[in-house]
Symmetry: C2
Subunit: 283 residues, 2 copies
């Protein structure tokens, strides 16, 4: 089938939109699913957000984001745990409000190193422990915690889990319905091991989310905003998508692009470009 039947707009792609605008623009474009972010949900309140999602007729493909639990300060660790427990409850309710096929998936970004720290191994261990501490609550809520490996350029300041292999090494300690991984093209495309790890994730049924975008060059000044529309850059998205689908992933495919130029444009124009960029892709 065409990818459009499984397309999801990750809300961060049109970051200036509030929840109402994001839902309307996505539905109007004929995109059947949306990946939500916590902040715009909080802006209207969870209960109202659930009603808006239900009224939109859209599926919910994920909630961004939990995680950020690598602090070495006990108080910070407790605050992170509390925030993640709230996020688990939020995605459980949002996915229940979404159309059939919605996915109660909470995306987890590990967080970076504490200030001035050089203890990368310690931060990775704390991230593993923090996932373990959320598993019971996630299972009780029937939510899947999806560990997102981040590109190694973010290892210091954003996400210490740097490869799909590392994410799976953590996830496989737990039930696959409760802990999976995010395959985000931007973060993992460079990895010589990526197809092996996508297949491994498939065997374990741990691909909980698939996000597409592209790697453009030269890198913009803000390395966080260096993503292009699918097809604009150097990622072989056809091969990666085929691998993810062959690995058994049957969920929605999110377009998630952080790019200041794209954020500056009218939402409808961006969605039209996304539909064109993905029109030739099949799943």
């Amino acid at each position: 089938m065409t990818m459009h039947d499984r397309l999801s707009l990750n809300q961060a792609t049109i970051k200036r939109a509030d929840l109402s605008q994001a839902l309307s623009a996505t539905a109007a474009a004929g995109i059947p699913s949306i990946g939500l972010w916590r902040e715009p949900v909080h802006d209207v309140g969870l209960s109202t957000a659930c009603t808006m999602v239900a009224d939109s007729g859209l599926r919910v493909s994920s909630l961004c984001r939990g995680g950020f639990f690598t602090s070495d300060d006990p108080g910070e660790q407790q605050r992170a745990r509390d925030a993640n427990l709230r996020a688990i409850d939020e995605i459980a309710q949002l996915a229940a409000a979404g159309a059939a096929g919605s996915a109660p998936v909470l995306v987890l970004v590990a967080g970076g190193l504490p200030e001035a720290s050089t203890d990368l191994r310690g931060a990775r261990e704390r991230a593993t422990t923090a996932v373990a501490d959320l598993v019971d609550a996630a299972a009780a809520a029937r939510v899947t915690l999806a560990i997102e490996p981040m590109h190694p350029m973010y290892a210091a300041d954003r996400g210490v889990i740097s490869s799909l292999r590392s994410a799976l090494d953590i996830a496989e300690h737990f039930d696959a319905a409760t802990v999976g991984v995010v395959v985000d093209a931007f973060h993992i495309w460079w990895d010589p091991d990526v197809y092996t790890q996508v297949a491994r994730a498939g065997v374990q049924q741990r691909i909980s989310s698939y996000q597409i975008n592209d790697w453009i060059t030269p890198l913009p000044a803000d390395a966080l905003l260096s993503r292009g529309l699918p097809g604009q850059g150097h990622i072989d998205l056809r091969a990666l998508t085929r691998a993810v689908v062959d690995a058994g992933y049957g969920g929605d495919i999110e377009v998630e692009i952080f790019n200041a130029d794209i954020w500056a444009r009218p939402f409808d124009d961006v969605l039209r470009d996304i539909l064109v960029a993905t029109s030739a892709m099949t799943v």
Copy 2:
């Protein structure tokens, strides 16, 4: 011993210096070794450069850079091969002119993807073939080709070999005296596999160069210039240096920093800061 006895200034750290200034500043600072770059050598001519190196009393720890051989165009491939053959001859002569303990090591950076290409695997295969095509010439000149894995953020536009494991996978097809690897802290510090691969490189006696610097945050606007002085960032240089030394590396340790702020400063000030930054490090 203190690291200072094995310290080398990679010339790119004081990029505005010509060869004469770089040699003088390094010797004046009491740093016993220098890592050269081809462009400032070409500026004075190879023969003159050899005389200047001999007169300086410094060791030569490496020559940057060969490689850039991932083009899919046959004419470009031939030009890259010719340039690398010239570079092999250059480092053979420069190391012979340097003080005892100089290392005839040519640093190889693979190069990125051709414009608009998404064939990362193909580019990696071309890099492997290109190394193989240089091995006989390097062996004849008693030069070591040192494959430098680049940080994954450069996979598209600069270096498609993205990990120490990948560099070793190529190198181990050849004699260890002829093909080794560069361990550059900035490029590989994030890798969960790095200590395993440093040990593997040690067993094979393939660590041909060790370069130190640091990973600073936030990333500057030009991601190529995002290196700090040792100790300024998030890399555990003590642990990495211990691993490299324990793996049997006995050569010079280059400080290689690309950073616009450092380039703007007086050379002597930079070298003094490097000596301070490395004063507590032992090898």
